[in-house]
Every structure is written in C-alpha cells, then in structure tokens.
Symmetry: C2
Subunit: 454 residues, 2 copies
C-alpha cells in the first residue's frame, strides 16, 4: 500500500533545477523593451535584477541549472515536502480515482514562494548586494522573501499594498519578525508614491503601484535590486523543485499520473509542478493531461488574449507576450483568492497556445466548498489559491466516479489558509459571492493593450 | 550524517500509548470529590467524561494502551511529525551541543493538542454520544477538538473566553470552518453564565468561567460529555505518542539524549515527550535530565506548593494534588504565552516531588528573543508557549559552549505562532515587558487552597 505521505530521503532531493524552456520547440516570446520594442538585453535587465537571475531569465537552452549548495541546505529546512495520498478525500468522494497532492505549505511563509525567494536572495548576496526590494499584496511572497533575506543577512524592503498592510497586520508582523522593513504603499518615500498620493489622497493602494515603488527604490539605491515572486521564467525554473520532487516520489512507487492540476495566478506553482512531466511529453516519452485552474473572476487563459502586454499596471516593467486580460484589468474586490494577476507566465502561455495544456476556470463559492471539504477530511486548511486546484481535482475525481475510471490525479497544494481567515469567515457566514466579468468589461480592458507588431 | 529531519516510516509509528504511571513507584495522588474528599470513582466521573477516558484516567497499572485503528489512521493525516536536527541553530550559537526538536505544529490546529483531541473524540463517538463540550482560551485546543469532531461527525460546542473570541477571530473561524459552534463566554446559554453576567456585566470572561459553562452544558444535555485538553492523566497518555516517536527516531540513529526539555503549562506536551525516557529512568535502564520550563509569570513548579487544589477557577471540577499557585491565581495579563495555568499535571507533579525532573522559569522578553532567533535560523516561527522550551534549550547549549561539552539536547517544539502575531507585534515594537509575581501575591493566592488532610 502506498503510504499516506511520501517523503523523499534528503539524498534523493533534486540537485539541479530543470529548465523546461530547453525542451520547448516553440520558445516563449522574449521580454521587450517598452521604448524600443526590441528584446530586453542582459545590460538592460541587470540594473533591475541580479546578474545571475537575468542569465537564468534569458536562457532558453540550458536544460539543468545546478542548485548551489547553500540553497540546497536552505531547502532542507522545510523540504522535501510531502507528496500525500488523499485517501481521506477519495473516501469522502467515493471515487475510484487515486488522488495525490504535493503540499508546499509546511513552512512559515505558508506557501511554495519560498522556493524561489531563497534562490533570489542567494544570488543577490553572492553578487555582493546590500538588499532587495519587492512588493506584496496578501503577503505570501513578502513573507517568503523576508525569511530568505534574514537567512542570508540581506536587507529586505517590502512595499505592501496599503489596504493589506492595515487589514492583514499578522503577515506584516511575520515579515517584521524576520527583519524586513514593511512600508504601506503608496508611500511618501518614492517619487511615484508621492505622485499617486497627490493625485489620489486617501488611496488604499494597488499591486501595480507597489511594484512601481519597489522598482524605483531598487534602481535608485546603490547595492539594491528588485525581485519578483511569479510570472518570470527564472521563478518557474526555481519552482521546478516542486515537480522534480513530485516525480521522484511517484517514481519510487511506480505511479504514473494521468492528470496533473495546479492553480494559476502568475503561473509559478503550476509551471514548477508540471515541468518534468511536460518535459517528458515534449520529448515524446510520456503523455499527461495538464490542467491550469484559474478563478472565473480573473480568467486570463480561458478568456484572455495571447499578446504582448505590460507585466505591471504601472507600466514600468518590460512587455511580455502572454495570455492577458489587459494590464489595467482589476479583478472584482469581492474575490478572496490571490490569483488576481491579469496575465500569465510566458512559458505557460506558449504551452497553452500550442495546445499542450488545458485551462479551466472555477467560481469562488465552489472553490470554498472544496476547501472546506478538504480541510475537514484531509486535515489541512488550504489557501484560497490552492483551493482552486482542489476544486478541479475533486471535479475530475467525480467524473471518474461516474465513468468508473481509476485515474491517477496529482495536484499542487501550494499553501495554507491560516492568514486568510477573513475570506473563510465570509464563507462561513454565507456572505461569499461569485463574480464573472462581462464580455464588455474584458473587451474594454483588452482594448488598452499596447500595440506591438513584430 | 544525521539528516536535518528524521521521519519515521508509517510502519514504525507507535501502535500503543505508553502509560508512564505504570512504572512510577510513587503513583500520582488520586482526584478527589470536593464534597466528600474521597477519591473520585468511575461512577462519579462518567457523567462528565466518556467511559473509556475515565478508565484511562483511573488506571495507574496498565503499561500500554493499544491505539485504536481509527485513531492510528487519523494520526497518519499529520504524523509522524519530524524530529529535526537543529543544525542551523547550533551554527548560530556556535555550540558543540547537538540539538534536536520534535515539531508538533505541522497541522491546522498548529500544535500537539490534536494528538489527544482525536482520541477523546473517537471514544465519545464509540460510546454513541452526540457531541462534546469544551472551553478554549487562545484557541489551540478548541481548534484541535473541532478538527477531531468534524472527522468523527460529532457535534462540538466550544466556549471561548469572550476577550479571545473578539480579539482572535481567526482561530474562531478555523473552528467554525470545521463545523464547531463557538460561543463567547460568559454566555446567556447557561445558568453559570447568566449568573456571572448578572454579577459582572461587561466582563470579558475567564478560562475558569468557560470551563464551568462547558461542564454545565455537558452534564445537562443528553448525549454530551465534557473534554479537557491538558492536565489530566489520560491526556498525558495520548501525548505519549510524541515521546514514543521521538525515541524511535533517535534509536534509529543510535542517539542517546542527555537533556530533554519541554514547556509546561498543564503538562500534556512535556508529559508526553518525556514518557518513554522517564520510563527507562524509572526502570533503571538509562538516565536523562528532564527540564520543565515555565513562565516566570506563572511558576507553578518552581514557586508553587504541592497540595490538593481545584483544577478550575470555577471550582466545579475534582480536586487534584499538584504543584499549584492556587486556583484563583490570575497570571499577569501582559503575558502572551499560553502557559497560564495555575497548576500542573498530577503525574508531573509527583515526578518533580520525587526529584526525578528539574524545573526552571524564564521571562517573557528572553523567550521572544529566543523565538525570533529560532524563527530566523530554523525557519519556523514558534508559538510563544513552545518558545519557553527553545529558550531553555538555547541556554543549555550556551553552557555547553562554555564548557566544551558535546551534550545532546532534545526539546519539544509544540506548535507554531501563526495566530499569535499580536504578541510578536508587541515584541517587534519593543513594547513587551516581563512580570514576576511577588512573594506576597503568591502567598495570598496560596492561602485560599482548600483544606484537605488525608
């Protein structure tokens, strides 16, 4: 019998990240300089990002990047993460499907974000930098980064969307405990912040504004760089540790999954989870179904356009070709999930455009119903983001119940919901609602895409 | 090299709980009926507690209790818990000591409390009961019990101290997500609640009052019983799973600890952790130092009296012989830790009285300094309670640094601090203070001990 939890031995943990781009026939489109519309060069990117991370970002050919010894040691703090057989969930659903989930929430940041945060902090330290800046909304990425920076003794400046800063004091305090400075955004500290505060006094901030502040500080303070927790190809590279561990754990027991499911915001978790499996598919060695799950309120893959767009609402970052809803698309505020990004990783976008991956969207109330069931039977209260994958996995398992098929389903449980209890409260009180943007709304947002004709 | 984390195989998990009392020459003193001052009988206890749990409570002779199959299955949801070698902490302290900690926080309740909650819920279900009642302060026990009751489809009524209910809405929502009803105490639902509200309108409640309400409801509603998360011998029995796993993991690598350290509130975690090691000591098979760590603000072992006292401030429960500060001792409100219980498990009290265990007390600010260091280097933000053990372990490791001794130190990391960020905020803001009760204060409290002369 397969155990409830499969833990790899430390000696079995991945020693290299896998760069899926090396095996893609159609490479993801390059980042473009918004002024020249030419591909961004190493020289243009290194004032913003660490040198080695830019190298990783631009490298579509190297198949494996060795994980530096220091990062592998840090990984041992909270990895290997368990691959769990969801026996309890299977029983609750009375399904013949076999369900597994890779749980990335067993660390204080509460999610998979730490996998890339430690890599980015390490390379910043190795480059001799003093510190890094970033933005955070709900706070998962900021928490992960503050943990990594504390470990490598790097300064960490987090610009936290003001409304979250005030409404989520707990995440803020975790970051402060790890020594990060956390500034509500917009702030008086930056030009862009002052400008926004002047134009909109009393604004509660936005992720786009926080990005712009973090980038301004990184590029104006000597010895600082900006770091980003998702979307970028380098982040997907680091997150491949999720998929590599998952595959090693399955291989140990001779298990071949039929369907692999992940929630998709910017794409880092999904891209990391599917990487080695998609690699086999691209090489013709095996076939799998991949399903990206996004919220119906922010449906970039299922209803967006595959086009060049700004990565941030502030339009200070390079252009990326991706499935997008338009960089000024604002998901409904009633949506609790953290998958509110208007675009999608270029790597995943290309795979989706090539028909190698499916996508589906799910509504918020149904997501929380799945989350509650999962919490009750599997004992872990999931993050709203992760619960999108749970919903889709349950739906696939229920299809198996109808057809009698014994499919093997693997999904990514990216994190815990311990800092998301306000959303659960809304659900417990029966106050949760769904929101699906209208076609007109999406059309209006997509009409503002930059005109890029290559 | 010993790995960072030692996980037992599922087949190596304990199949029986170990009842330390069976190996104690001096048995813990019996619970007394406060009216007759005679030992409580099975018949007197079963209207309040489940039958099988009363049997376990009264049994000082049976060495092993088989863990029922259903509970062993539930344990696989979140166990085995890792025994972690604190390499990062050792390096940060530059100590020759070898430090290990058994981490019980990898579950949604966030602590070891779940180990006993599932046992108590199971026996209630098996007895055909409809539900159970309990009290909760900070909410760890209530959360654990609500998870266990949800799994066994039992009704769970939690009386939560009103001030916590209002100030800790997140724990409350976790309990509600698991289907528990959470009532702020004192409430209008019970006689005792109404009486207190009448006498003290606007009171924010107390644990003693919440216990009284929970007991009243359990004994007046058909098909309900009351359950308690610490202090009782049955709880220590269930918590022996911690020590048994710890010992099995150490034995696997041929490691013999010199010092075993645990924080001590009611004593359930410490009693469970040390059980099999203390058993060896009692049988003359091995020797270990055991250290109970309590807050200087609530020093029952180090400054209390070994005497019969009420277990609850409401004086509705039986009398227990224990180290106590007096049941009406109220620890300073500025203390954040959850170790605010006036007494100590009878089992641990007897061991301490017999000189088989040491005790030490630590101050709050020093505890949070240890907590912050631990969070930063080991990557897990600890609960304030657990951090008492961290403080003592660090102090022992620093002594080794002075003497050059390579002692092996094992401590219990009972849980995470994710729902305790208000206390961390106070610490981060430099607002945390220490409090040590004066001799006069303790004398006054001890003067109210019931007169019991056996």
């Amino acid at each position: 019998m397969v155990p409830y939890k499969i833990y790899l031995e430390e000696s079995e943990m991945p020693k290299a990240w896998y760069n899926l781009r090396a095996d893609m026939k159609n490479k993801p489109a390059p980042l473009l300089n918004p002024a020249t519309l030419k591909p961004m060069t190493f020289e243009e990117l290194t004032p913003v990002f660490c040198d080695e991370l830019v190298r990783q970002e631009l490298d579509n050919d190297t198949r494996f990047f060795e994980i530096p010894e220091e990062i592998r040691e840090f990984y041992k703090m909270y990895r290997p993460s368990p691959l769990t057989r969801a026996y309890f969930l299977e029983r609750a659903l009375d399904t013949p499907a076999k369900i597994y989930y890779k749980f990335e929430g067993n660390n204080t940041s509460g999610s998979h974000k730490l996998n890339s945060a430690v890599a980015q902090a390490y390379y910043a330290k190795k480059q001799g930098l003093k510190g890094v800046t970033t933005e955070t909304g709900a706070g998962q990425w900021g928490t992960a980064l503050s943990m990594a920076c504390s470990f490598f003794d790097l300064d960490c400046k987090v610009y936290m969307v003001k409304v979250s800063y005030e409404q989520k004091p707990f995440r803020r305090e975790v970051m402060r405990t790890y020594g990060a400075s956390v500034t509500p955004s917009p702030s008086e500290e930056t030009q862009v912040g002052r400008k926004i505060l002047e134009a909109h006094p009393g604004t509660t901030g936005s992720l786009g504004c926080a990005i712009s502040e973090a980038v301004e500080v990184a590029t104006s303070l000597p010895g600082y760089r900006y770091v980003l927790g998702s979307v970028l190809s380098q982040v997907l590279l680091h997150q491949s540790v999720i998929g590599l561990e998952t595959k090693a754990a399955l291989d140990k027991y001779g298990i071949k999954p039929d369907i692999i499911i992940g929630c998709a915001g910017g794409g880092s978790n999904l891209g990391g989870l599917i990487a080695p499996f998609m690699g086999e598919k691209l090489q013709g060695k095996a076939d799998y179904r991949f399903i990206a799950v996004e919220p119906a309120s922010c449906p970039s893959l299922t209803r967006g356009r595959y086009a060049y767009d700004f990565c941030d609402t502030g339009m200070v970052c390079p252009l990326a070709k991706m499935y997008t809803l338009g960089s000024n698309f604002i998901p409904s505020a009633n949506h609790a999930g953290g998958l509110r990004y208007h675009g999608m990783s270029s790597v995943l976008s290309q795979l989706y455009a090539d028909g190698l991956m499916e996508a589906t969207s799910v509504e918020q109330t149904a997501v929380f119903e799945a989350a509650r069931l999962f919490a009750r039977v599997e004992g872990t209260l999931p993050a709203p983001e992760s619960s999108h994958a749970i919903r889709a996995a349950i739906d696939e398992a229920l299809k198996c119940k109808e057809t009698g098929e014994e499919k093997t389903i693997v999904f990514g449980l990216t994190g815990t919901g311990y800092f998301d209890m306000t959303a659960y409260q809304k659900f417990n009180d029966g106050q949760m609602t769904d929101y699906i943007p209208s076609d007109e709304e999406l059309e209006a947002s997509l009409a503002t895409l930059p005109k890029v004709d290559l």
